[in-house]
C-alpha cells in the first residue's frame, strides 16, 4: 500500500529533478524582456532614392511596420518594440545580443526572385585577355558590379550619369536572358554581383554554393521574371531528406500564370531561358536552380529545396508569407545610410527586476506562513507542490526562451507572483473538501479518498476554462497578450499536474501516518472532538 503512494511521489520528484538537470545542462536560461535587460535595435531609414512622398510614403511605412511585426511574431513570442519615428522604423528586440541575428529577423531586403539561368560559369572569374570589362583599378577595389551602368562597365554601353539614379534606363530592354548587354565571354571575367547592384530588372552573376557553403559554380542569371509578390503563402517542412519551402502561388495572371509563363519558356528552351533552368533567388542567394521538366504547374505544387536547415527554411517561409517590405531601406550595416543596428539598454533595468524578485520572495514567505498557520502539515505539502510546479514553470520558460524567444518582462514577473496565489487555490479547494468530510464524520483515511475526486472535478473544469481562454488568446493575438496567454495556459496545465500527481499521493501518504491519525490537529483538519461537538 505504501508503495502505491510513494511511487508517484518519488516518480514526480525524479521527473522534475531530471527536467531541471536537463534544463541546466542544456544551458537554457530565461531571456529577459526589453524593459529588464535591453536588446538589439535596428533603425531603418528609407533609402535616399525613394520617390514616394506624402501619404504614399506614410502608407508604405505603416505597411512596413506591420510586415516587420508579423515577421517577428512569426518567429516566436518575443515582445518586440516596433515604432515609427517620423520616417524611420525602430525595431527593438529583447535579448538579441547578436546584432546579425537582429538584422536577419528584421530581414529588410528579402525578396524572392525567379530568374532564368543564362549560362553556367566556373566558380572564379576567368581573366580573358584584353577584356575591357576589367578596368585598371576596378579589380583592386574588391567586388564590383556587373551592371552596364557600373563604373567598370565599358563607357559606350550606357550614359555616364550617376549609376544609382537610372539603372533601368542604362540596361537594354529585354526579357529574361534576351539582350543582356554583354556576351557570355564577357561574363566569364566579371565578378559576382554585390548586393547593392542586385536589381530585379538587371541580369546578375551569383555563386551557387554546395552544402558546405563553398561556391562550385557561378550562374549568369537573366532579368527577374516574377517575384515573391506572386505568392499567396508559404510553408516550411521536412520533406524527404531535407528541409524545403513550399510556396503556394496566387491564382490568376498576377500569380501562377506568371510562373507558368516562365516555366514554359524554360521547358521549351526559348531564348529568354535557353539553359532550361529557373533559379530561385532569395536576397541575392541562389536557393536552387532546378531544371524545368514540365511546362505547367499547379499553384501549390512547387517545392523550393536548397541547403536549408530548419531555421533557414522556416525564416524563408516566413519572409515569403508576409511579403517583402514595400519600401527600400538603407543598409543598417552601412554607416553612411541613416539605418543602423546597435545594442540598447533596458528601459527599466536591474533595479525594477530586483524589486520584483524581492517582493515576490517576501510574498512567497508570507503565503507560506499563512498556509502553515492555517493548514499545518497540509500547508507544507501545498508549498512543496508550489515548489514543484514553480520549478516546472521555470524549466518551461527557459525552454521557451531558447526555442521561441519568449522574453520575461516585468509584467511577466508580476504575473508569476500573482500565480503563486492562484496555483495554491487547487490545494485550498481540496483541503476545504477534506475538512468538510471529516466534520461530517468520516475518518481521515476515508475522507482523503472521497474528497479528492470531488475537489479535482471542480479544479479540472475551472482550469479547463482557463486553458480554453488561453488557447484562444494565444492563437488570435500578437505581442504581449500572446505572452500572457502562454503563461496562463502553462500555469493551468502545471496546476492540474501538480494537484493530481503530487498533492493527491502526498495527502494520501499523510493520511496513512499513525502520527497524524492520532493528532489530527497537525494536519489543520478538525479534531474528533470538534466534529462531535455539533
Amino acid at each position: 500500500m505504501k508503495r502505491q503512494v510513494l511511487f508517484p511521489i518519488i516518480g514526480i520528484l525524479v521527473i522534475v529533478g531530471g527536467l531541471l538537470a536537463w534544463s541546466i545542462a542544456a544551458g537554457n536560461s530565461v531571456l529577459l524582456g526589453l524593459d529588464l535587460e535591453g536588446g538589439a535595435e535596428v533603425v531603418l531609414e528609407p533609402a535616399e532614392d525613394i520617390e514616394l512622398t506624402g501619404t504614399a510614403l506614410d502608407e508604405a511605412l505603416d505597411r512596413s511596420v506591420e510586415i516587420i511585426r508579423n515577421r517577428v511574431d512569426g518567429l516566436g513570442v518575443a515582445e518586440p518594440d516596433i515604432t515609427r519615428q517620423s520616417n524611420r522604423i525602430v525595431v527593438q528586440l529583447p535579448g538579441v545580443e547578436d546584432q546579425q541575428r537582429a538584422l536577419e529577423v528584421v530581414g529588410q531586403t528579402a525578396e524572392l526572385r525567379f530568374r532564368p539561368v543564362c549560362a553556367i560559369l566556373p566558380p572564379v572569374p576567368i581573366e580573358v585577355d584584353g577584356n575591357p570589362t576589367s578596368g585598371n583599378d576596378g579589380e583592386n577595389e574588391g567586388p564590383v558590379g556587373l551592371l552596364p551602368s557600373d563604373e567598370d562597365a565599358p563607357p559606350e554601353e550606357g550614359p555616364q550619369s550617376d549609376a544609382n539614379e537610372d539603372n533601368n534606363a542604362a540596361t537594354p530592354i529585354g526579357i529574361g536572358c534576351e539582350n543582356l548587354g554583354f556576351t557570355q565571354n564577357d561574363a566569364l571575367g566579371m565578378p559576382n554581383t554585390v548586393a547593392d547592384d542586385d536589381i530585379a530588372e538587371n541580369p546578375v552573376i551569383l555563386p551557387l554554393l554546395d552544402s558546405e557553403g563553398n561556391p562550385y559554380q557561378r550562374l549568369l542569371l537573366g532579368r527577374t521574371m516574377l517575384t515573391g509578390a506572386a505568392l499567396e503563402t508559404a510553408d516550411a517542412s521536412f520533406a524527404g531528406l531535407e528541409w524545403s519551402v513550399f510556396p503556394t502561388f496566387r491564382s490568376g495572371e498576377e500569380g501562377i500564370d506568371l510562373f507558368n509563363a516562365a516555366a514554359n519558356a524554360c521547358y521549351n528552351r526559348q531564348p529568354i531561358c535557353q539553359v532550361g533552368q529557373l533559379a530561385i533567388v532569395l536576397d541575392g542567394v541562389i536557393e536552387s536552380a532546378p531544371t524545368v521538366n514540365t511546362p505547367y504547374f499547379e499553384r501549390d505544387q512547387i517545392v523550393i529545396s536548397g541547403n536549408f536547415d530548419q531555421t533557414r527554411a522556416e525564416d524563408t517561409a516566413l519572409v515569403l508569407r508576409y511579403g517583402s517590405l514595400p519600401l527600400e531601406f538603407g543598409d543598417p550595416t552601412d554607416p553612411t545610410s541613416g539605418s543602423r543596428v546597435r545594442l540598447v539598454s533596458a528601459t527599466l533595468g536591474q533595479d525594477a527586476l530586483d524589486a520584483g524578485v524581492v517582493a515576490g520572495l517576501v510574498g512567497l514567505a508570507l503565503v507560506a506562513l499563512y498556509m502553515f498557520a492555517y493548514y499545518k502539515l497540509l500547508g507544507v505539502a501545498a508549498m512543496l507542490s508550489l515548489a514543484i510546479s514553480g520549478t516546472m514553470l521555470w524549466v518551461m520558460i527557459s525552454w521557451l526562451s531558447e526555442t521561441r524567444s519568449y522574453a520575461l518582462t516585468l509584467a511577466g514577473v508580476v504575473g508569476l507572483i500573482v500565480s503563486i496565489g492562484t496555483s495554491l487555490d487547487s490545494n485550498v479547494v481540496y483541503f476545504e473538501h477534506l475538512k468538510e468530510d471529516i466534520r461530517n464524520g468520516r475518518t481521515l483515511r476515508s475522507a482523503v479518498d472521497q474528497a479528492f475526486p470531488v475537489a479535482f472535478k471542480t479544479i479540472f473544469w475551472a482550469n479547463l476554462a482557463s486553458l480554453i481562454g488561453a488557447a484562444i488568446l494565444y492563437w488570435l493575438t500578437v505581442g504581449s497578450v500572446r505572452g500572457f496567454a502562454l503563461m496562463l495556459g502553462l500555469a493551468s496545465i502545471l496546476d492540474l499536474l501538480a494537484t493530481y500527481f503530487f498533492i493527491r499521493p502526498v495527502v494520501k501518504f499523510l493520511g496513512m501516518q499513525k502520527l497524524l491519525q492520532n493528532r489530527p490537529w497537525l494536519s489543520g483538519l478538525p479534531t474528533e472532538e470538534t466534529a462531535e461537538q455539533k
Binding site: E66, D351, R439, V448, G469, L473
Partner: protein, 356 residues
Amino acid sequence: MTLLKRMYRNETEVPFSKLWKSITLCSLAVLILSVGGIAFRGLNLGLEFEGGGAWEVPAENIEAEEVRDALRPLGLADARIQTGGGVLRVRTELSKVTQTALDSGEESDPIVAQVTTILAQITGQEETAVSVSTAGPSWGEEITNKAINALIVFFIVIALYITIRLRWEMAVGALVAVAHDIVITVGIYAIFQFEVTPPTVIAFLTIMGYSLYDTLVVFDKVRDNEHLLSNAKLSYTEVVEKALNQVFMRSVNTSITSILPVVSVLVVGSGIMGAVTLREFALALLIGLIIGTFSSLFIAAPCATVLRNKFGDEDSDKRSYRLSEAVRRRKKSSIPTASTPSNPAIPPRPRKNKRR
C-alpha cells in the same frame, strides 16, 4: 462560537441572499462611477498606444537614472530612457497637437524645447546635436483590434462552455461578474488617471482570468448542491446560499494567498525598494483580485439565481441532477479505490448537516 472559529470550521451561516440587494446597489453605484470616469475623463493612454516624442543625443557613460532625475521637474519621470551604442534615447508622451506640430516641423511646443535643453545640458552637447522626432505607437491599432476580436471569441466560447458544463444562467452570471470586475478596474485607472501601458492591459487580462476561475469554482459548488432541491426541498436561493457558505472559507483563503504577494509587490517592491513602475500595476491587480473574489459571491451568484428563479423549470433541475450524479459515478469508478472500502451504508457525497 466566535465568527472566526465558525469560519475556520466552514460553519458560517452568512445570509448571502439578504445581502445581495444592498451589495448589488453598492456595486451598481461603483459601476456607474467607473463608467462615468471612463466616459468623461477617458483613459490616460501611454506612449505605447498614443505615440509621443523621441529624442536622440550622442552620449557616452550616462546613467538612465541621471536623465530621469533631470526630467522629473517637467513631470516626465516616466519617460522611456535607453542608453547604448553611444546614444541616449528618450521617448515620452506628447499630446496629439504637439505631435502634429513636430511632424510638420513647425515651431515646437515649449515642453519639447525644454526637454531638448535638459538633454543637451546633461550630455554636454550643443542643442543642435539633439535630434527630435515623433514616435509612433508600438502597440498599434492592429494589435488592439486583434486583441478585441480574440476577447469576443473568448467570451462566446466561455459562455458556451459554462452553458454546456453548468447552466446558461451561470454563464450569464459569470460573464456579468467578469465584466463588472474589468469595468471597475479600468474605471479606477480612468478616475485616477493612472497611465495605461501594455503591462496594465496584461493586468486587466490577469484579473479577467482570475475572476472567471473563481466564479467557476463557486458555481461548481452550487451545482454539486443542486440535489438538495429535491432531496431537502430547499428553494434554489437557499441551495445557492448554502453553497456560498460552504465555499466561503475557500474564497477567503484563496484571496489571501493571491493578495499577499501582490501586497508585497506594492509595499516592498514599490514602497521600500522604490520601483515606481510597479506601483500602479500592483494597485490595479490588488483591487482586481479583491473584486474578483467578491464578485463571484455577490454578483455572479445572485445574477444566476435571479435568472434561474425567473426562467428555470423543475425538469431541468432533475435532469441536471441526474447528469451530475452520472458524472460523479463515472469519475469514482475511474479512480482506484483505496485501502479502506467505504461503507456502502453511508452514501458518499450528500451531506448530513440538516441543522437548518
